[in-house]
């Protein structure tokens, strides 16, 4: 018991262990075309918007962050706006964004049926087109299935390039996990990696949270990442997905 307390007190420093959401850290797998499109165009002006849709955990937010990151790297102003912000801000928060070179709107389904936000987005899309900026919007369904109130908005989304993001295959998930582990200087055996993917890999966000949790725990406990250790740590903190 005393030993546990001592261990817990040895908290790891909160250094920059954050995994940058860049194009490099995105394992494209079946989504190579979307990545290629965003990547090639992230540095230049481009045509009207892109609409990416897919299930949770298919990497939509990651790609949007990557677009912003790439814009930042060339000194261009960009913005990432998750639409859950609509609960905290009025739709005027979209004013003036057309002056930025990249505008990324995440989880558009969050404002479906909210007329003020839908109208504001219709206007934003029109202004961005007129100003010639790059717009990327994501959602959990194809435009006509989003449940939007305004046909004007659905039609604008469908009028750009629409691409569906697929969930990664197990091997791709493992690769993404290994990539992140390596960035953290973690040795993750194939077996341990497979264990994590199998039990926590339904949603990539969840998988990465699991990795982060075991990483922290192994730092504190000074233990290597064996399957029993992982099971022990995560068993008490995270529910498996199956």
């Amino acid at each position: 018991m005393a030993e546990t307390t001592a261990r817990q007190s040895q908290l790891p420093l909160n250094l920059s262990l954050r995994d940058s959401a860049t194009f490099d850290s995105y394992v494209a797998g079946p989504n190579a075309q979307a990545v290629d499109y965003l990547h090639r165009l992230a540095g230049h002006g481009w045509e009207p918007g892109v609409y990416l849709w897919g299930a949770p955990g298919s990497g939509k937010s990651h790609l949007l962050q990557a677009v912003c990151h790439a814009a930042g790297a060339v000194g261009a102003a960009a913005v990432y706006l998750p639409m859950e912000l609509a609960d905290r801000f009025p739709s005027e928060a979209l004013n003036g964004l057309e002056h930025l070179s990249r505008i990324c709107i995440d989880d558009i389904e969050a404002i479906a049926g909210r007329r003020d936000w839908e109208i504001a987005l219709v206007h934003l899309i029109d202004r961005v087109h007129a100003a010639g900026g790059g717009l990327v919007v994501t959602g959990n369904a194809a435009p006509p299935a989003l449940g939007l109130e305004l046909p004007q908005l659905a039609s604008r989304l469908a009028g750009g390039l629409t691409l569906q993001l697929q969930i990664l295959a197990e091997a791709d998930k493992l690769q993404a996990l290994q990539w992140r582990a390596a960035r953290r200087g973690l040795t993750l055996t194939m077996e341990a990696g497979r264990y994590l993917v199998r039990h926590y890999g339904q949603d990539m966000n969840r998988l990465f949270t699991a990795l982060e949790t075991v990483d922290q725990a192994s730092l504190v406990a000074q233990r290597r990442l064996t399957i029993p250790f992982i099971r022990d740590v995560l068993g008490s903190r995270m529910l498996k997905t199956e």
Binding site: C68, L97, I119, A142
Partner: protein, 448 residues
């Protein structure tokens, strides 16, 4: 040199803030460096306030660490790199008005006109030729030909394109002409701001002194009485002064619920024209024109295939073309029929699965050779009422929409009307061979 200071600051903040904080609040800032002053321009006051409250300290801290020997000042203000910031920093930090938000927004260079939309690149077909002709007339004889000109039709059919085309042509003829394109929603928000800031007289003067006012989507006026009143007076002044007014709407003016009768009747003073969804030949022509503009080689059979499968509107046609082109660029393969089928497969499957009320209305109107707008209308003529009932019954059978939603989609009818229609159509299918056949054909068309 200019950007390096902010760039260095960003690099440092990267290790301090989460990716999302950085991308949502810091990256939208545009930095301008002037001597020992770093001016950070925020796109709007929400970003500005948030940064001030949550991140300014980190920014200052990062700069202090990076440049301990420089006495750097940071000014946060609203603005963008594309236009000079209108206010002094202090004012921008303290207040919330910017050039962007002032009453005279329309005075921005261009009057809100998009030069990309012209008559030259508007593809004409049977479905839109009347509207196009009326717009050309108006652009050549503003204030006298048809005033007001009222254009109505569904989304993505080119109403906005025509408004801009008129504005651009007016300006080409006379660069000094004062023409403003505005979305109805903007008119409303301008008026609200003018009321708040006590500048309603300037607002009135501004709109009433224009040579031409082009207002898009006037259905957004619905239910906004004060705005309607203000617009009513503006409208009267303009039309009486032979200043041109063009309005667009997604439906026939009389069918807009929540719009005052006096406005509806005045909108009908001039000429009212409909834009219908384009027929197949026009859809093919549109695709060819878009492909040509973009420098895409589009074989005829591919154009025909896309046009045949994507029937809804022009915007979605463009979306499909973009998809095919993007796929061909990605794979390096030429655009052939087989390639296009493959590239669009998920879109088409999805479209087939998603039968919408919109789609049903278009298909039924097509089938009976009537206009979609007639389905929304109050007409009780049998040649309109029967197709309307059939469309309602199809909507009930093929979509997940509730009865009130279906009623709403048919010009704001009551749900009992929909129930009645469903019963009637069921009954008629037993007794009327023609109706039975029609219904079966439509069902097949919609679900093939």
């Amino acid at each position: 040199m200019e950007q390096t200071l902010w760039q260095a600051c960003l690099d440092r903040l990267e290790s301090e803030l989460s990716e999302q904080q950085l991308n949502t609040w810091i990256r939208p800032l545009h930095a301008l460096e002037e001597d020992d002053m770093l001016r950070l321009l925020a796109p709007n006051h929400f970003v500005l306030d948030w940064v001030k409250e949550h991140h300014l300290e980190s920014i200052l801290g990062a700069l202090q660490q990076l440049y301990p020997n420089r006495n750097l000042q940071v000014l946060l203000e609203i603005g963008s790199s594309r236009k000079p910031p209108a206010k002094k920093a202090e004012a921008a930090v303290a207040g919330d008005t910017t050039a962007e938000e002032s009453v005279l927004e329309g005075e921005a260079p261009g009057g809100g006109l998009n030069p990309d939309f012209t008559f030259d690149n508007f593809v004409e077909g049977k479905s839109n030729q009347l509207a196009r002709a009326a717009c050309t007339q108006v652009a050549q004889n503003p204030g006298t030909a048809y005033n007001p000109l009222f254009i109505y039709g569904g989304t993505g059919l080119g109403k906005t394109h025509l408004l801009h085309a008129v504005g651009n042509l007016l300006r080409a003829h006379n660069p000094a002409v004062r023409v403003v394109y505005q979305h109805a929603e903007h008119f409303v928000s301008h008026m609200v701001r003018a009321l708040q800031h006590n500048t309603i007289n300037q607002f009135k003067h501004y709109y009433r002194s224009l040579d031409a006012l082009l207002i898009d989507d006037i259905q957004f006026f619905a239910g906004k009485e004060r705005s309607q009143e203000e617009f009513f007076y503006t409208f009267n002044t303009l039309v009486e002064g032979h200043q041109q007014v063009i309005l667009t709407c997604d439906r026939y003016p009389k069918e807009v619920a929540g719009l005052e009768d006096r406005l509806k009747s005045r909108f009908g003073w001039g000429l009212t024209v409909a834009i219908e969804p384009p027929e197949l030949e026009t859809r093919v022509a549109i695709l060819k024109s878009k492909a040509q503009q973009a420098g895409i080689h589009l074989p005829d059979e591919v154009g025909f295939f896309i046009a045949k499968r994507i029937r809804s509107n022009v915007r979605e046609l463009e979306g499909a073309l973009r998809r095919v082109y993007a796929n061909s660029q990605f794979t390096g393969k030429p655009i052939t029929l087989a390639f296009a089928k493959e590239a669009l497969s998920d879109l088409l499957i999805l479209q087939d699965r998603l039968v919408t009320v919109d789609n049903i209305q278009r298909t039924v109107a097509d089938y009976y050779k009537i206009r979609v707008s007639e389905l929304y209308s109050n007409s009780r003529l049998r040649e309109v009422a029967r197709p309307r009932q059939i469309a309602m019954a199809l909507a009930k059978e093929l979509t997940n929409q509730s009865l009130p939603e279906i009623g709403e989609a048919f010009g704001g009818r009551d749900h009992t009307t929909v129930i009645h229609a469903c019963r009637k159509v069921k009954e008629l299918q037993q007794t009327d061979e023609q109706i039975r056949k029609d219904y079966k054909n439509l069902l097949e068309t919609l679900s093939d």
